[in-house]
Every structure is written in structure tokens, then in C-alpha cells.
Amino acid sequence: MGPLAVNEIISSNTNFFLAFVIGIGFGFVLEQSGFSSSRKLAGLFYGYDMVVLKVFFTGGVTAMLGLLFFSLFGWVDLNLVYVNPTFLTSAIVGGLIMGAGFIMGGFCPGTSFCGAAIGKLDAMIFIVGLFIGVYLFAFGYPLFETLYKSAPMGSPKISTMLDLSDGVFALILVVVAVGLFYGSEWVEKRFPREEY
């Protein structure tokens, strides 16, 4: 049955509309969880508030289990689900740049729009910076192209690399996530901050 758009059960216009609705929902949840506050985001790096890690890990693990159950029930064909191809070098370099921007600016791209939506000036400045970065990359693309395209790995799955079934890998990841949840509770107690 699924993916709905790939199997042409819904048109691509309906697909965009659903993405729009889900996007609004995503933004709403981000804002309600306090992700529009750059102090909360920076808390992840200083250890006084680990909610970002908890929310994103919960989201990822829930989506993973959901997809695996959908596949088990025959509701979605996982082979047809698009997976971004991995380019190892650019993933590492990009991750470092994004991490640095994250801790300096106090936002990630999604939460900066959340912050801007509720009128935060620093978030708006962050978006300006984000676009400067986008244009720099686009116009300087010939300079970055070799790096950008180096170490292509296709769309690998860690479960296949470790020769495990998807289900067993999911269980391991869930155990890791739960460990991180309790670990972050401990970290929050270790580095408390009264008001932020």
C-alpha cells in the first residue's frame, strides 16, 4: 500500500498538502516543547537541559518502530521509502559546521523558523545567516564539489553493515536510547542551572 505518493494512491499535490499540514504540526510541537528558546538548545551542550536529545531520540525511535510495524503489517514497502544517499566526508564536515553553528547561534534551521514565528529577533538574524551560508555554498559550489561528492556510500543501512536483521538492530537502538534518557537525567542533575 504505502508509500502513498510513490504508489500513486495520492497525487503529488495531495502529498505536498499533507507535508504542509505535518510541517505545521511539527513546528507547533517544537515551539510547545520549548525549542524556540536558544537557551534550551544550548543546554544540550552544557548539560543543564537535555530535552532536545530526548525529544529527537524519542521521535527517531518512534518513527523507526512505526515503520517496522507498518512494514510487518504490509502497510508500507520499505524498499520504496526514499533514503538520502550518504557521502561520508561531506556528512562529517557538514555535521561539524552545523554543530558549530548550532552552539554559536543557539538554533538549528527548524527551530530558528520556530523562534522567528514567535517574533524572536535573534532567530531572525540566525535565518539571515543561514541564507548567507546557503548562497556562499551555492556560488562557491565548484570549490566544494570534490569534497561534497567524495566517499559516496549509496544508501547503506547500519543493520545490513552489521549483518543484523532490522528488528534486532531496532531493539539495540531502543536500548541505547533508553540508556541515553536515563544518562541525560543524571547529567541534568550533575550540571543544574536554576534559571535560564
Partner: protein
């Protein structure tokens, strides 16, 4: 209990279930586009008219001829023992048991081979087994089986044997009579000797089954 404990409990139980059940590997579509293309290029789905004629004459119970033309054309002329499943009904649930089974060899045919090939591609892609296509369709059937051309006398014994077989099959399958109603008919070139009972030839190993 703290919310974190609840979350942990639910996640771990679900993950345990998903780790213990076998992975669902069934897919609605069985072949990738590349695999299908490779099959089409090698033409494994084709069964030659001679082979089909031989099986009809032998009253081989293992084949099922399926006419994918419309019912009007089917009523005008059809091969012996054929059933009619028009192409537009190929996905109908009533035909599922006929098209997806492990015992008989289904052979699709149409006037040319386009419609029969379309039926084959659909069923192949759905993962159904034992579906084949009559090579060249009814037009080629008329040419080769019902109205075989006498080969030149210098031709090899093999060719002559094949001609004799075709003439015999034509006789058994009512050549000439049907040709007036059949598509792409041409006048019967040779009247087969009456009373010839086709002898089962030694079958050559060939693709198709």
C-alpha cells in the same frame, strides 16, 4: 511511575516484538524494472507456435490457453481449449486462481503478441507463476500452423519434418476452415492429406517451460 519509565516500558516492549518477528519481505511488486527488462530481452516468456500446437494435438492437460482479446473476437475464432480473459479483466479477482497457480502452464495469446505480452508483464510483475506468451500471436499461428508454406526442396530434413508436423497439426486443428474468419488470413496453400495422425516428435530442449 514517572513518564520516562512509561516511555521506556512501551519502547522496549515494542522493540522486543519487532526483534522477534521475522522480517516482512513480501512485496506487492516482485521484480525491479531492470529484472523485468532483462526477462523481456531474453524472451523467456515466449512459447513457439509449434510447441503449442504439439501440446494441443497431444491434448496435454498441463497447458491452459488464455485468449486476451475481447469476447466478440473470441467467439469468432479461438484456439482449441482456450478460455477468454479479456485484457481489461486480467486483474479481476475472479481470474486470480487461474492466473496465479503452480500446476498449469498458462499461455496468453492475442492477434499479434502485444496484448498477450501486456498480460504477461502484469502477471509477471505481480509475481504470478507459469504464465507465458504465444510467440507471434494468432497471426503467426495462421502463417505457421494453419497454413504452413511448403519449404523449398533444397531445405534441410529438419525443415521438412517441421513442415510435415505443421501440416498434420493444421489438419488436426481445423486449418483452412478457421482461416476464413481468422485475422490476417491467407488462402490455404496446401491441402493436407486427410487422415494423417500427427506423430509425436522428439521434443527439442527449448525455452519456455
Amino acid at each position: 511511575m514517572k513518564p520516562l519509565h512509561y516511555l521506556t516500558l512501551v519502547l522496549v516492549i515494542l522493540a522486543l516484538i519487532i526483534a522477534l518477528v521475522p522480517q516482512n519481505t513480501t512485496r506487492p511488486y516482485k521484480l525491479t524494472a531492470e529484472q523485468l527488462l532483462a526477462e523481456i530481452r531474453t524472451g523467456t516468456q515466449f512459447v513457439s507456435p509449434d510447441e503449442v500446437a504439439d501440446k494441443i494435438v497431444q491434448k496435454d492437460p498441463s497447458i491452459q490457453l488464455i485468449d486476451v482479446r475481447n469476447p466478440r473476437e473470441f467467439d469468432m475464432f479461438s484456439l482449441q481449449g482456450a478460455i477468454n480473459i479479456p485484457l481489461q479483466d486480467i486483474l479481476s479477482e475472479n481470474n486470480f486462481d487461474i492466473l496465479n497457480q503452480g500446476t498449469k502452464m498458462n499461455i496468453f495469446y492475442s492477434n499479434g503478441s502485444t496484448e498477450a505480452n501486456e498480460a504477461w508483464m502484469l502477471t509477471r510483475q505481480l509475481g504470478y507463476q507459469n504464465n507465458y506468451v504465444l510467440q507471434g500471436g494468432l497471426n503467426y499461428w495462421m502463417e505457421t500452423i494453419l497454413n504452413p508454406l511448403k519449404p523449398e526442396s533444397i531445405i534441410s530434413n529438419d525443415e521438412i519434418a517441421r513442415y510435415d508436423f505443421r501440416k498434420a497439426a493444421s489438419m488436426a486443428l481445423g486449418g483452412g476452415d478457421a482461416s476464413s474468419m481468422a485475422p490476417a488470413s491467407s488462402p490455404a496453400s496446401a491441402t493436407p492429406k486427410p487422415g494423417v495422425v500427427p506423430v509425436k516428435k522428439k521434443k527439442k530442449a527449448s525455452g519456455g517451460c
